[in-house]
Every structure is written in C-alpha cells, then in structure tokens.
C-alpha cells in the first residue's frame, strides 16, 4: 500500500491539501495521478495568513507544489481492504483458468454447444 494508492482511495472524499507556499486547499478529490497532480471540486482556498478565503467549483493542483495532504482517519483501513480485495480477485482469476478456457472454447467450431448465427444458415 503506497502513499499514492492511499490518495487514490480518497477519491470522492474531502481532503485538505497544503501547498509549499502555505496556501491551504479544502475540497473533494476528483482524481489524482502518479505525479500527485490533483483535481478537486467544491474548493475553499485559504491563503497563507489564514485570513482570506476563496471558493472555486473546480480546482487543479500541480503535484510539485504540494507539501502535504490531510485525509480522513479511517482511510488507511479502507485502503488495506481495497488492496486485499484486489489481491483476492487476482488469485481467483488465476485459479479459475480452466473455467475461462471452457468459456473461450464454447463458441469454437467443433464444440457441440456452438449455435452461432452463420452456422444455422449453412
């Protein structure tokens, strides 16, 4: 579970981003990428003195300008669960390779179950 995976888990949730120039940005995380670039919605920007506020419907933060990100308390637990689910899904798919092969063969020419439209016409 890497820091950026944790950030990706926080998509759709309110976060607080602190920039290098001490500007604070409160908003709902829409998306993030591997450079930590963020897009946010419903943003309240607080300037470095903490006295002036601005509202923005959409907001983009360049990753390089970020100092830190504050997130919800239980985000770590949820990221762990998400990671575990992804792992289980992978395991199941690997162990069910036989089933998948059957599924792929179902419509092949020599399988009895094939009832493709063009076969019927012949």
């Amino acid at each position: 579970m890497l820091p950026l995976f944790l950030l990706a888990t926080a998509k759709g949730e309110p976060i607080q981003v602190e920039l290098k120039n001490n500007v604070t940005i409160n908003g709902y995380l829409v998306d993030c990428d591997s450079w930590m670039n963020l897009t946010l919605e419903n943003v309240l920007e607080v300037d470095a003195t903490g006295e002036h506020f601005k509202k923005f419907p959409q907001f983009y933060v360049h990753g390089v300008e970020i100092k830190g990100v504050r997130m919800d308390e239980n985000i770590i637990d949820r990221a762990r669960q998400k990671e575990q689910r992804a792992r289980n899904w992978n395991n199941n798919n690997n162990s069910n390779n036989n089933q998948r092969r059957n599924y792929n063969n179902r419509y092949s020419a020599n399988s009895s179950g094939g009832n493709r439209g063009n076969q019927r016409q012949r």
């Binding site: 820091p3 950030l7 390089v64 100092k67 504050r70």
Partner: protein, 157 residues
C-alpha cells in the same frame, strides 16, 4: 568463502564499535540505503522534520521511493526554548517527499522525559511566538549582513 568473509567483517565490526547502538548506526548494517532504509521504522512512531523546520510526529504507515510518507495519528509539535511546547492534531497526513529533511524513530521514554520538563501552551500562541523568533533572527542576520558589507566583507550565503 563469502560467508567466511562476512563473518570476519562482522567480527571486525564488533571490535571497532563499543556497543550495539553504535553498531546500529553503521551504514553497512542496513539492508537498504536511501528511502528503503525506512522499512525498519514502519508501524513505529517517527518524527519528521520538514525543510521549513516544522516537526510532525506520528505512526509511519507507508512510504515510497520518493520518501513520500503517510503518518497516522499525527501531531504537529512546536518546541519553544527549553520550557514550552505546543501540539496540534493532524490525523492522517501524507507528506510529499521533497519537503522532508529528516525522519527518525522516537524513543518514547526519552520523549516523555523531555516533555515532562516543558509546559504545554496553546498551538496558535506557539505559532505566533515562533513567527516572532524567526522574524527576529532574520532581522539580526540582515543587520549583520549590512554591517559586513559596509566594512567591505562579502558575507557567506
């Protein structure tokens, strides 16, 4: 052969270092260098100092190759002089690696011993005092700089 070499090296180390804690500090005793050396500190309470001088203390949960850190139950702490400190809870805090200047595990007993000597003050007050201290220091540096320049010296940095 290699094993023998390793063994002789380790034996050599115990001669060189007086105690285990000194040996722990020796770089070759780490499995990894750079950011990966943090694996040993995971799920432990660490202190993180940023380049700008702020201090965060929390449980280190994850990190990556850029030393991006995720701290849980974080507090930002300000030490003022030898007798005051202030704390502000920060929750789960992701710190971008660029800003980190120092990460270290904390000895809880030592920390408590230190904090016992200090009195806790409200965080905004501590922030104000720190701001004043920084401003005073800056003013002093500028003054010194001007003085040196007036005497014909080029001050360093």
């Amino acid at each position: 052969m290699t094993q023998n070499q390793n063994r002789s090296q380790t034996a050599g180390l115990s001669d060189v270092f007086q105690n285990d804690s000194e040996k722990d500090l020796y770089l070759e005793s780490y499995m990894y260098t750079t950011a990966a050396a943090l694996v040993g500190s995971i799920d432990k309470i660490v202190t993180v100092t940023l380049r700008e001088g702020r201090v965060f203390i929390g449980i280190l949960r994850t990190f990556d190759q850029f030393a991006n850190l995720v701290l849980q139950d974080t507090v930002e702490r300000i030490y003022i002089g030898d007798d005051k400190y202030a704390e502000a809870p920060q929750g789960v805090f992701l710190i971008r690696g660029e800003n980190v200047s120092l990460v270290g595990e904390i000895d809880l007993d030592q920390q408590d011993k230190d904090l016992e000597k200090r009195s806790q003050i409200p965080f905004p007050e501590a922030q104000r005092i720190r701001k004043e201290l920084v401003a005073a220091k800056q003013a002093k540096t500028t003054k010194e700089r001007e003085l040196m320049l007036s005497k014909g010296f080029e001050p360093q940095s």
